[in-house]
Symmetry: C2
Subunit: 335 residues, 2 copies
């Protein structure tokens, strides 16, 4: 089952149901009509953005339970995390959900980390059904990582726009949904990038390493995948990733970055692209999983990337470590 | 393998090696001479407390590798987390360690969460060897959760003292060390405590729930354990826990709290006791695991507790959700 850096499932677990919830800007983007729900008001009627983000998560969970026609009692374990300090979006979501909860932190890689964990637990019979959940919110992220919105800080061309979105998946050992073939948990890479407005560059080396490690362990080449999705490298990080992998003799003609899919970069003014846990989560649940379920794609990689810094460490002049976790997904009939 | 809220291992994985590293105050406490290493200077020669905390983790990892006479190449996956915003103590530790890394956030419950995860992955063959790692640092935690030390804030009688400490365990599917019999990932409980200086009270209901769920799933009573360790409820939370469980008809005569073991509460002026991820981690690695290895105890529960708030949510007037994860440990010869 363990092959080098990867966990390869003899009996691939199945993604039974999924849902993507977005904010106003996300609904106006290219994937807007593929979202399961969108909110017109990014406060969701709450008094703080932080609790609004928990609401996004809760809506995603509810939609998944509806789609799967099951209740929370059928869920053995939820893996969740987010960008707020001390992962409070997830923790406060869990107050309303009486389910065992394992908190994760992988920054914007959290959707792949949680999906991978849920797949591992289901495949091993350690959970009958498990959920993977994450979110981000533009306004909570600005407060966490840069300056509160009220300060009106200028955005640089390499900056990315944190998605206001949540994604949730329900997994089981067997089912008719897309399969999880294999999971690779990533290694931290730090190439001494210390520009908090250029996280794509900070994460690209980790994405390259994880993709190389995954394909080496599983024994595949890029051509064997319909798409290789990363998230969220944006324009700058994507170019770097392709450059690195070309130098390694492994060009990626079928590469797509979630940060470049959720928004129209020009008309929506998101600078280098989208980011945030919710960005790759929304693209996974609004585009990738539906495409696999419908057979439009047969086999893909979903390598979500995370920049593991904080405002504290950034202000102390530290560079930004990156990580990428990779989940290999396949259409139901590909078995 | 799955029994209600618990994961029960048919072939219990083994804790192969462990290490506890502490600061000056921890070295002066009752468990001081059981620590594997202690630092005289809590900056560890670094320019910030945050990077000093990463040093603590790195020392714990090095000691474990030395004890196990193995290198990092023999470790398939590290589960780690800490209290810093965006878990930077762990992420920055990983820059120096070229090993697949899954970041966790469970606040002060992280030692049990990471130990439980590592046990699950080893038991299922998804990792040959896996590490569980966490830390806390008094000075970084004060900056995160209360006010920076320089402000000289007063401490209330219910406040707990965040340990400057790290703990690390190496697990494998088989070995001669203490066994992990079962793991229960906890459910979030929020009893509307919103005093950031009384986290014991906020966490006690979650600890009670997890202990009840664990013993119900595994089919045991408190009398079957030599000790039931919680961490870190302190004086206030421990009294509450015992009160709740007595009312549930399950008194805990053999209860011990890590927050009351690491320091001498009176002479060391830690108010209600110790806390922080590093507190229960240090007690686990300096006292609990050595006791099981030496046969002084045969079977124990290790239920680490976490308060899942942040300064942001606290300042917004939110109450504090609690969680507890429970790991059942047994001496090597108890099989």
């Amino acid at each position: 089952m363990r092959k080098k850096d990867s966990i390869v499932f003899h009996r691939p677990p199945s993604v039974l149901a999924w849902a993507a919830v977005g904010g106003k800007k996300e609904a106006e983007g290219p994937l807007g009509n593929q979202l399961d729900a969108a909110t017109e008001d990014n406060t969701l009627g709450e008094t703080s953005w932080e609790t609004a983000e928990s609401d996004l998560q809760r809506r995603a969970v509810q939609l998944v339970l509806q789609k799967a026609a099951t209740g929370l009692a059928g869920v053995d374990l939820i893996f969740a995390g987010d960008l707020q300090a001390q992962c409070t979006a997830s923790a406060y979501t869990m107050r309303a959900l009486d389910v065992p909860f394992a908190g994760l932190y992988g920054a914007c890689s959290t959707m792949a980390e949680s999906l991978g964990m849920a797949a591992c637990f289901c495949a091993a019979g350690m959970a009958g059904k498990a959920m993977a959940l994450t979110s981000s919110h533009f306004c909570t992220a600005e407060r966490q990582f840069r300056t509160p919105l009220n300060y009106g800080g200028k955005r640089t061309p390499t900056a990315q726009w944190t998605a206001t979105a949540a994604g949730c998946c329900l997994l089981g050992a067997a089912g008719n949904g897309p399969r999880v073939n294999a999971v690779t948990f990533g290694r931290v890479r730090d190439y001494q990038v210390n520009d908090i407005n250029n996280m794509g560059a900070a994460m690209a080396p980790a994405a390259a390493q994880t993709l190389l490690n995954h394909m080496q362990a599983v024994g595949t080449t890029p051509a064997q995948y319909d798409s290789i999705y990363t998230g969220d490298l944006g324009q700058v990080g994507s170019a770097l990733l392709c450059e690195i992998l070309e130098r390694e003799g492994m060009p990626l003609p079928n590469h797509r970055d979630c940060g470049l899919m959720l928004y129209d970069r020009q008309s929506q003014q998101v600078k280098a692209g989208g980011s945030g846990c919710g960005c790759s989560a929304a693209v996974l649940c609004a585009h990738i999983l539906p495409g696999l379920a419908a057979g439009r794609e047969k086999r893909v990689l979903f390598a979500a990337t995370g920049a593991l810094m904080s405002q504290t460490l950034f202000l102390q002049g530290e560079s930004i470590p990156g990580i990428a976790h990779c989940v290999e997904l396949a259409s139901p009939e590909s078995l």
